[in-house]
């Protein structure tokens, strides 16, 4: 038998990844399983960034812990991979000190809604300036498929081996009732709609929430005998109903049930920073000193190499 040596074709040019401007190509390949929905949402986010014309230097991306919690590590912007559940309060600090930037939290359902649930409702209540993107795969995937506060009733998890009997949270309902300015839900195959929602939400202010129902191919789909991740992705898409005016009663998700998707809230409500500014200006008059921003402090103390941008007063503190 003769063994033919296979030589790599060095003449073949590997095309640049179309989203390489926003991705850390030096960290590829990523850790996500094939047919997982997270990569799609990151792709949509990169498309949305292109559509808005924002530069990666106009945003920060913060994640907590978990599979979606790794997004911050792959996005080529100033990015923060924080502790479990604390991406939102961490971003409160970023948003209040750098109101000139757009702040994005990219994390999973367990991270944002279970361990971080308290922060989620309070950031929505205060209308903190951030876009929160939650990839909801109904499980704790990175730790091996445990019960989440989103796991549908009867779905199996390693810590619910006989199926779940807990009522799950409907995330848009939670966001709406807590006062979010923008609330949308899509499934991971609604690629154009996710991109449109992200584009729109990136240009709004206040607390914006987008939930993306995505398959966990390796853990949730397999344990629940739901086929491959791609099968599940198609199932969610085909069983979704677009209803922008849906009542919150219709937003619950059962095991393999229909999923009501759409843009449920898009309203203008003053953000925390803006409310603070307007309130103090009214009650303190001339004694009030508008908050200094981190950018002002940086420009003052830093003799860095890049051209310093204009220190413009942000719309947070404009009349």
């Amino acid at each position: 038998m003769t063994v033919t040596e296979v030589k790599p074709d060095t003449t073949r040019k590997i095309p640049e990844h179309p989203k390489s401007l926003l991705l850390r190509m030096d960290r590829m390949p990523h850790i996500w399983c094939s047919r997982c929905g997270i990569g799609i949402t990151v792709g949509c986010f990169a498309s949305a960034m292109e559509k808005t014309g924002l530069s990666p230097d106009d945003i920060t991306v913060t994640s907590g812990i978990g599979c979606t919690g790794r997004v911050a590590g792959y996005v080529k912007a100033d990015s923060f991979h924080t502790t479990h559940g604390r991406a939102i309060p961490f971003t409160v600090g970023l948003a209040l000190t750098r109101p000139d930037l757009k702040h994005v939290v990219f994390s999973g359902d367990g991270d944002l809604i279970s361990i971080g649930g308290n922060h989620f409702i309070h950031a929505a209540r205060r209308n903190q300036n951030m876009l929160v993107i939650c990839v909801n795969n109904f499980t704790y995937a990175m730790t091996g498929g445990q019960l989440a506060p989103t796991t549908p009733v009867t779905a199996r998890a390693t810590t619910a081996p006989y199926g779940s009997f807990e009522r799950p949270f409907s995330l848009p309902t939670l966001a709406i009732s807590a006062g979010a300015s923008y609330v949308a839900r899509w499934t991971s195959l609604h690629i154009r709609r996710i991109t449109d929602s992200m584009t729109e939400a990136l240009q709004r202010r206040g607390f914006r929430f987008i939930e993306i129902i995505a398959p966990c191919s390796t853990i949730y789909a397999r344990r629940n005998k739901l086929g491959t991740g791609l099968d599940l992705m198609k199932y969610y898409y085909e069983n979704s109903v677009i209803d922008h005016n849906a009542s919150v009663d219709d937003l619950d998700i059962g095991f393999q049930s229909k999923i009501v998707v759409g843009k449920f809230v898009d309203k203008d409500r003053p953000s925390y920073g803006k409310s603070m500014h307007e309130h103090f200006r009214k009650v303190l008059g001339n004694k009030y000193q508008p908050p200094v921003s981190g950018k002002m402090e940086i420009d003052k103390s830093w003799s860095g190499c890049t051209e310093s941008q204009d220190t413009t007063v942000t719309d947070e503190v404009q009349s």
Binding site: R24, D26, R27, P56, D57, D58, T60, T62, A72, G73, K76, A77, D78, S79, F80, H81, T82, T83, G85, R86, I88, P89, F90, T91, V92, G93, L94, A95, L96, T97, R98, D100, L101, N118, H119, H122, Y272, G273, M276, F280, L284, K287, Y288, Q289, P290, P291, V292, S293, G294, K295, E297, I298, S301, W302, S303, G304, C305, T306
Partner: protein, 386 residues
């Protein structure tokens, strides 16, 4: 070093309690972001900051809990403002995980703990010094940070400023370990002119984004920070990371990453540590103390001195890192160390370790709820002198 911004400096002679003085220290140090959650006996710090910040360009937010407070402080510091939170025992417990994140990401920030009796809800309105070991070991994993212990309202002001300076210089969370007694004690506090307050500014890199590695240390083992939104597009994580800030899960990176975080503080101890010495030159016995206990010890030492006992005082302004070298030096020359603490023996363990059996170590313990009677310290001095 730069001078303080006069906007935040309430120059003059005041009559303030320690909590309010610490708040003024933060204002003078240029702290302009505060996130906190009410808890006795630290709440007055937050209250004063809430009152002052709108007048000096600061942002105050009362968060939903202590977990959120410390997370927001880390975010605020990355955002470019000097940031602080304040709490007491139960809240300090809740902050532990993210203090570790602050150590790992190397985030300059200040956490004030106005200590009360514990464990659990304990004595909310009464003093203790029982979180000293928690300050050192409370977050998981190996780490080093800096903890200071003021013993007067004046020092609550001074050491809060010092804490901001240390945190910026060493890129580490700095803890101000007050106690209820100091926090609620009202005394004269002199706030100097802004021009007399020297501040350490953040060290931002001057490298181009292409040449910049967020966790490549300088000579003092501290890496330079990059401002966000200026093209650096850096990544930072609580995971073990390499010089690029990228996660790297292996024993070599763990050794390099954590090893440097420890060395950064340990190898610079001489520069970081501040102690006060009194009567040490001829001392046979040394009372080692910190915080309110160091003031309670003064009459005991004076009384013993009057009786001819050669007793000196060593006051730990910096408790962590511990002045190991100094204690080892002293241990060869003195007969005994005496340590009053409002706990059942915490920092004394470190003292005993450093004394290494070459000098006797005596703990004067107090369960908390009040400070020592100076007589108990005096008695311990006398016993040791026998």
């Amino acid at each position: 070093m730069v001078q303080a911004d006069p906007v935040g400096v309430l120059t003059g002679t005041h009559y303030l309690d320690g909590d309010h003085a610490a708040a003024e220290g933060a204002c003078s140090a240029g702290c302009r972001f505060f996130a906190g959650y009410p808890i006795t006996p630290s709440t007055e710090v937050a209250e004063r900051v809430a009152l002052r910040f709108p007048l000096i360009g600061g942002t105050f937010i009362q968060m939903e809990d202590e977990l959120a407070s410390i997370a927001a402080v880390l975010g605020g510091s990355w955002g470019g403002l000097k940031s602080m939170t304040v709490t007491s025992g139960p809240g300090f417990s809740l902050m532990m995980e993210n203090i570790g994140l602050g150590v790992m990401m190397e985030v300059p920030c200040v956490v004030i703990n106005v200590q009360r009796g514990g464990p659990s809800t304990g004595l909310p309105t009464l003093p203790a010094q029982a979180d000293m070991m928690q300050a050192r070991w409370g977050s998981h994993g190996d780490y080093e940070l800096i903890a200071l212990s003021p013993n007067s309202p004046q020092e609550c002001f001074d050491l809060t400023i010092e804490s901001f300076n240390l945190s910026e210089q060493w890129r580490v969370p700095v803890l101000v370990m007050m106690d209820e007694c100091i926090g609620h004690m009202t005394e004269r506090v002199v706030i100097p002119e802004a021009g007399e307050i020297e501040l350490v500014e953040r060290r931002y890199t001057n490298l181009n984004p292409d040449d910049y590695l967020p966790y490549k240390p300088c000579e003092d083992l501290v890496p330079e920070m990059a401002p966000i939104g200026y093209g650096y597009r850096f990544h930072t994580t609580g995971l073990t990371h390499d010089e690029r800030g990228y996660p790297s899960m292996n024993a070599e990176t763990q050794q390099r990453c954590v090893g440097r975080l420890l060395d950064k503080i340990n190898l610079n101890r001489d520069e970081i540590i501040h102690v006060d010495k009194h009567y040490l030159d001829d001392a046979d016995i040394v009372v080692v103390s910190y915080g309110i206990s160091s003031r309670v010890a003064i009459p005991a030492v004076e009384k013993a001195r009057r009786e001819g006992i050669k007793v000196g005082e060593l006051r730990l302004v910096t408790v962590w890192p511990f002045p190991e070298k100094l204690i080892r030096e002293l241990a060869g020359n003195v007969k005994a160390f005496i340590m009053p603490e409002i706990n059942h023996g915490q920092v004394v363990l470190e003292l005993e370790r450093c004394a290494g059996g070459r000098a006797e170590t005596r703990l004067v313990k107090h369960a908390g709820g009040w400070v020592h009677d100076p007589e108990t310290i005096y008695e311990a001095i006398r016993e040791a002198a026998k």
